[in-house]
């Protein structure tokens, strides 16, 4: 299968995603330039972390207008897999591919540390390699990761089981102290109704090797690989 990692002006984690996929999972990966149209066959497009356009107006607000995003929206609408990590998650929300918005951390401070998240659903291409309730230890690093959605949207998220990961403590419990940014319902990541677009604040790519403190992040990427394998060698989209 083939991955595309978009480089926006101000992206910082594109190399981390690239290296994680290439070195740890032996995947084919290409960088995609934000000014180009989306062309070529890809199974999964990754919007990496960082500070696209400096996040100067709102995180993700300006990147969603990058030329490549038109293609990403079409790709997603046709069922292609799209993964947004941190700033990528913010961009996907701004672009309307995912519900809700990410606002300033409740502490008003940028926060960088390792957290635990719990896999809430496993019937998606991004979580299928895991077990329901499984804990993953992943790094977070963001200033605007507080997830918000209005009550109706939230209800829909519950009903459709779109909340894929929640912040929990080491024992797997959702507690206010275990929630690093004050997210609504401790939400760390959600998918769309079609379950082919997923955004999360933690960085799986920075937890891909034992020497970096753990390899729990590989669960997310290997889920995608597994899902694509099951679907056959064919790309999701021609």
């Amino acid at each position: 299968m083939r991955w595309g990692v978009i480089v926006f002006p101000g992206s910082c984690d594109e190399q981390d995603v690239y290296d994680c996929l290439k070195n740890n999972l032996r995947q084919k990966v290409d960088f995609l330039w934000h000014k180009d149209p989306l062309a070529g066959k890809f199974d999964c497009i990754v919007l990496p972390g960082g500070f696209s356009y400096g996040d100067y107006l709102r995180s993700g607000a300006m990147a969603r207008f990058s030329p490549i995003m038109k293609g990403v929206v079409e790709f997603a609408q046709k069922g292609g897999l799209v993964l947004g990590i941190c700033n990528g998650f913010q961009i996907l929300c701004e672009a309307g591919l995912l519900p809700g918005a990410l606002t300033r951390n409740a502490s008003l401070q940028f926060i960088c540390r390792r957290v635990f998240v719990r896999l809430e659903e496993t019937d998606t291409p991004f979580t299928c390699a895991g077990k329901k309730g499984q804990l993953l230890k992943l790094p977070i690093k963001h200033g605007e990761g507080c997830y918000y959605a209005d009550p109706t949207t939230l209800e829909r998220l519950h009903k459709n089981r779109q909340i894929l990961v929640r912040y929990v403590d080491a024992k797997g419990r959702t507690t206010p102290a275990a929630d690093p940014n004050g997210s609504l319902d401790h939400i760390a990541g959600v998918c769309n109704e079609g379950r082919n677009v997923f955004g999360l604040m933690p960085h799986p790519e920075d937890a891909g090797e034992k020497i970096l403190g753990g390899e729990d992040g590989l669960k997310i990427f290997s889920s995608v690989i597994e899902a694509c394998d099951k679907r056959g060698k064919r790309a999701w989209l021609d």
Binding site: C12, D19, G54, K141, G143, D206, L212
Partner: protein, 747 residues
Amino acid sequence: MARLSAKQFPQPPVSADTIASHGFSEEEYRRIVQILEREPNFTELGVFSVMWSEHCSYKSSKVHLKLLPTDGPAVLQGPGENAGIVDIGNGLAVVFKMESHNHPSFIEPYQGAATGVGGILRDIFTMGARPIASLNSLRFGAIDHPRTPYLLSGVVAGIGGYGNCVGVPTVGGELFFDESYNANILVNAFTLGIAEKKRIFTGKAKGVGNPLIYVGAKTGRDGIHGATMASEAFSEESEKRRPTVQVGDPFTEKLLLEACLELMKGDCLVGIQDMGAAGLTSSAAEMAARGGTGVELDLSRVPLRERGMTPYEMLLSESQERMLLVAKKGKEEQVKRVFERWDLDAVVVGKVTRDRLFRAFFDGAEVVRIPVAALTSEAPVYTRPAERPQSQDDVQRLDLEKIEEPADLGAALKRLLDSPNVASKEWVFRQYDHFVRSNTVVAPGADAAVIRIKGTEKGLALTVDGNGRYCYLDPYVGGILAVAEAARNLACVGARPIGLSDCLNFGSPERPDVMWQFSQVVQGMRDGCIALGVPVVSGNVSFYNETDGVPIYPTPTVAMVGLLPQVARHVTPWFKSPGDIVVLLGRSREELGGSEYLKVIHGLAKGTPPWIDLRLERAVQHSCLKAIDKGILHSAHDLSEGGLGVALAECCISGPEKPLGARVEPREMMRGDARLFGESQSRIIVSLKEKDLNRLREIAEKEGAPMQVIGEVGGSRLVVHPLIRLPVDELKSIWSSSLERRLRDAR
């Protein structure tokens, strides 16, 4: 943008007043007239003032800095370029430097610190290296001083705000509070980058006729006279100069970084330098000096952000996120294309000339014509008077008999762990991205940070250290200790030092007592470097850190870089498993002078700092390193502020998992407080399996390092028999919450 014409800009006259307000002595002005064989015009006066400022010319420090050892088999570039370079094998080199941004950070903490980070990043990528790790060394006034929480929060947010946005991990640093810094905080920023050895770029203007190209942000009236501001003590007057504060734009920096690195892959570039202090003037003049050439600038082409800027302002502006490069003639369009891809301006603003003159034109008229050498190599150099102040004797007098030993040493340990100088710095470093680039093997919170070098088995260790209190009590010894502690911190993770960069933060060089401190510290650092075999490859001097005639503690900060041949073998400070044996490498003496204990418990900054025997230091470090090479150590942690008691507590509580207790019984016979909190140097606590003890003994014996089995890991308490017996959970909660709680309470 409305531009002035030459007619609209008559040069203001040069008078005795303007000469004085540009900071020149009469002697210096006479020299200018002699060099030019005429009176300078107003713009030229400005150019001389920034280039001859302390900040750019190192006029007071040069004679001393020559003493520092700068050579080594792996050193590719010592001081003199934008940053130092050391070979690390595999065709790779590391490029690193530290810079101070003290004055701007005091005036506007967020932006001052942010632009400090921006500046040091540019120093690194200007040489062709991708920045991969940063450190920051911070000094603030007493934590209960009304301005401290504001300054600290602003500085930390600024460092994070800039570094995080550019995508360079901040992997370590230090933070120290003392009244001595109440009105003069220190913000020293360090960055390390990695480059291919064959693709290193320098700031040389070579090749007559080659174009000078301006890239990056537009020029505004930011920070005009920043370099002179950094060369002055604070006063009400300098407070008034506030509007010169620069605002950082990390997004533009990120684009500039990527565009420059992309350009460097091709073959367009001859030389490149960032526009830092003294902006366009210093970058152009320094590049010409290194290239043995001249430069000609056409100021009418400089991209401007504000209306009506004068040549004087364009030449002296310190607007951030700008670079000056020399390209091969004919490659102009290629350069522009690269920058266009990243949405950045690239404008030809001049060319390299043969005449060794620094010339600037504006609207067709020549406004500056000065020999390059007069601005660089021939700038004044002073051997300033230096004298040990009489009061030094008094400062060093400490009668231990009069220091009462606390009845409850456990309570004293708790107070020390609660001291912001000893407490966990997590409140700070959790605001810094330390994961980005996925190289971070040991994050902040250990003796040194460790990052791996992708594509190799190697790793780099980084640390920054320097105790101003020690230097105040004895600047010579303090200088040695700064170097020794940094190297010891590297040894604790298993790295051998390959080079260091430093910032020397002092009061006014015009004071003999300060110059004495300066020369003593430099001599101490030199002796430390020679003994431990570490070259100084770059650095920075910050003078005039004083307010109303009171200088800060003399504060060298030493950022040292070490290499690990096998990054997988690194060691961390905290205890790993119950049953492990705890060993103390080194020797303890009855030394309390300058200790954190004396300050926190008795309110004293007195005595002489701990003594150091550099042969013993080397033996201890080598023992630790060899034991790590052999893979027998489970943990290693050096003893610093707070001595054995604090170090043991940190071994118990500083790990990412649940705290582990220990029971130890050190054998030295001395008063209990000295035994627990004395800061004798050259000591490391290690833990290992009992079966490996003999191998450690053999190593230590061979190296000539004393070693003492002092106890065992296990249980839920820290027991230092017979002095202390405390639950580790309690220690952890004090130590880890102190900083945040104190900052909150201070509001």
